[in-house]
C-alpha cells in the first residue's frame, strides 16, 4: 500500500516537473493515436453512411462482419501488420516496421470497424428520419451520404471518440509492430508495460495517470470544440 502511495507521489512529481521522457512519450502517443483515428474516421464515416443509405445483396452479412471485426484481437492485428511489413513480407520494401507509421497502420485497422459500426448505427436512425425527404428532393446517393455525415456529425464524433479510446489504450499490436524502442516508438501503453515489468511502479503509475488524463482531455476538448451539449437541440 505504502509503495503505491509512494509511487503516486513520485508520479505527480514527474508530471508537475514536465519530465522530458514523460512529455516525449505522451506527445508520441497523441500523434500516433490522433493520426490513426483521423484516418479511421475518414474511412469509417463514409462507409457507415454508405451502409445506411444503400441496399444491396449481402448488406446484412456485411454489417454482421463489420460488427464482428470490432472485437478484432489487437495481437492478431499486430501479427498481421508485422508479417506484411517485415523484410520478407509484401510491403517490406517500404521499411516501415518498428516506426510510428507501422503503429498508426495497426491502430487504423483496429479502430476502423468500431468507427464504421457506431457511425452506421447513428446514421441509420437519421436515414430513417430523412428518407422520404431526401428521396422527394431527388438527391443523388452521394448527396444523401454527405447530408447524413454533416447532420449526423455528432454521432460520428461519438464514433471517433470511441475509436480514439480503443487506439490510445491499445498495447498488443503496437508493441509487436513498433517494438517499444526508446525515443522512437515508445508510447504510453508500451512504456507502462515496460516499467511495470522492470518494477518501476512510480513511472508506470505516472504514465497511467497521464494516459487517463489524456483520454479525458481529448474527449472534453473535442466536445467543447463542437459544442455538443450547448447545441443539443440539433
Amino acid at each position: 500500500m505504502n509503495e503505491i502511495f509512494q509511487g503516486l507521489l513520485e508520479a505527480v512529481g514527474l508530471i508537475l516537473s514536465f519530465d522530458r521522457d514523460l512529455v516525449d512519450i505522451t506527445l508520441r502517443s497523441l500523434q500516433v493515436s490522433l493520426t490513426a483515428v483521423a484516418i479511421a474516421t475518414a474511412i469509417g464515416a463514409p462507409v457507415g453512411s454508405w451502409l445506411a443509405v444503400t441496399r444491396f445483396r449481402g448488406r446484412r452479412q456485411t454489417i454482421a462482419i463489420v460488427n464482428a471485426l470490432m472485437g478484432l484481437p489487437p495481437v492478431v492485428v499486430g501479427l498481421f501488420v508485422y508479417v506484411m511489413l517485415s523484410r520478407s513480407g509484401p510491403l517490406g520494401v517500404l521499411g516501415l516496421l518498428f516506426t510510428p507509421t507501422a503503429m498508426i497502420i495497426a491502430q487504423v485497422i483496429i479502430a476502423t470497424p468500431l468507427i464504421i459500426s457506431i457511425s452506421h448505427q447513428g446514421l441509420r436512425e437519421l436515414w430513417a428520419q430523412y428518407h422520404d425527404l431526401l428521396i422527394s428532393l431527388n438527391t443523388t446517393r452521394w448527396q444523401r451520404m454527405r447530408t447524413l455525415i454533416w447532420d449526423g456529425r455528432r454521432a460520428l464524433l461519438t464514433a471517433a471518440l470511441a475509436g480514439f479510446g480503443r487506439a490510445v489504450g491499445e498495447v498488443g499490436a503496437i508493441m509487436i509492430v513498433g517494438g517499444n524502442i526508446d525515443q522512437a516508438t515508445r508510447v504510453l501503453t508500451t512504456a507502462i508495460a515496460l516499467e511495470t515489468s522492470k518494477g518501476n511502479f512510480s513511472l508506470a503509475i505516472g504514465l497511467g495517470l497521464v494516459l487517463i488524463a489524456l483520454a479525458i482531455a481529448v474527449n472534453m476538448a473535442i466536445h467543447n470544440m463542437l459544442r455538443t451539449e450547448r447545441a443539443s437541440l440539433w
Binding site: 437519421l126 425527404l133 422527394s136 428532393l137 447530408t147 440539433w234
Partner: protein, 237 residues
C-alpha cells in the same frame, strides 16, 4: 420550360408487404388550381399522393407526366403530414433543396431568408429547426417546398394537428402559391378546408376513387350515396 402537366394516373396501384395501399385508380391532374383528395382515415389519401410523387412504388398501371418522370420530379415538391426536420438551422433547412440543385450556398441562403420572411419566420433564421412550434415547423416545411418554385405541390394533410390560426396562415400561403402558378394536390379530412380551397375534389374510399369532379358540383350535389353521407358528416365505411 415545358410544363410537367398533365399528370396521368392510369389504373395504378401501390402495395406494401402484400397489403394493397391504394388503387387501382385513374386520375388526371391538369392544373392550374387545387385538387383536394378527401376521404376517411385509411382510405389511401397519403398513399395516392406518395405514389404520384414516386415515394411509393407503382405495382400495376402507370403514373406519367408530360415530360420524363425524372424531369417531372425536379418540378414537384412534397409537404409531409409530420414535418421532417433536418438537424440544421431554419435558414439552412429552407435552403437545402436549392443547395442540392446546385445553387451556391450564399445565394441559396439569401433566397431561404426571403422565404422565411414570407412565412413569418424571419426572426428564427439561426435557430435550430427543432426549436420551432408545431405551426412554425409546418410553415418552415412549406417554405422549404416552395423555395424551388415547384410547378406541382403535394401536401399530405399539412394542417392535421394545427390550430385555427396556423391553419389560416398555411391556407393563405397556399393561396399565394396557387396565385403564383403552382398547382396543388392536397389531402385532407377537414371538409371545411376542402370547401375553402378546392377547385376539384377526389373522394377516396377503400383505396379507390369513389367520386371526382368540380368542387362546387361535389359540395352542392354529390352523385353517390357515400359522397352524400360523407358530406353530411356520416360514418362512411
Amino acid at each position: 420550360m415545358k410544363s410537367i402537366l398533365p399528370g396521368v394516373v392510369s389504373n395504378a396501384s401501390a402495395r406494401r408487404r402484400g397489403v394493397n395501399l391504394v388503387g387501382p385508380v385513374d386520375l388526371t391532374v391538369s392544373g392550374p388550381g387545387t385538387t383536394m383528395i378527401i376521404g376517411p382515415n385509411g382510405s389511401g389519401k397519403t398513399s395516392l399522393l406518395r405514389m404520384m410523387h414516386g415515394l411509393e412504388r407503382v405495382r400495376s398501371g402507370t403514373v406519367s407526366w408530360a415530360v420524363p418522370t425524372e424531369q417531372a420530379r425536379q418540378h414537384q415538391a412534397f409537404v409531409f403530414q409530420t414535418p421532417i426536420l433536418m438537424r440544421r438551422s431554419v435558414v439552412d433547412c429552407i435552403a437545402y433543396p436549392l443547395i442540392v440543385r446546385g445553387v451556391p450556398k450564399k445565394q441559396a441562403r439569401v433566397a431561404a431568408a426571403e422565404w422565411a420572411q414570407r412565412v413569418n419566420l424571419g426572426d428564427t433564421l439561426k435557430q435550430p429547426a427543432s426549436s420551432l412550434s408545431g405551426g412554425e415547423r409546418q410553415k418552415m416545411t412549406l417554405a422549404r417546398a416552395l423555395v424551388i418554385k415547384p410547378e406541382l405541390l403535394f401536401l399530405d394533410e399539412p394542417c392535421a394537428s394545427l390550430d385555427g390560426r396556423s391553419t389560416r396562415e398555411i391556407e393563405d400561403l397556399l393561396a399565394q402559391a396557387r396565385a403564383d402558378g403552382t398547382t396543388i394536390v392536397m389531402s385532407t379530412h377537414d371538409l371545411g378546408q376542402a370547401r375553402r380551397m378546392a377547385d376539384d375534389v377526389v373522394l377516396l374510399l377503400h383505396g379507390r376513387i369513389h367520386e371526382t369532379g368540380k368542387a362546387q358540383e361535389f359540395f352542392h350535389n354529390p352523385s353517390t350515396d357515400e359522397g352524400k353521407s360523407f358530406l353530411a358528416g356520416g360514418i362512411v365505411e
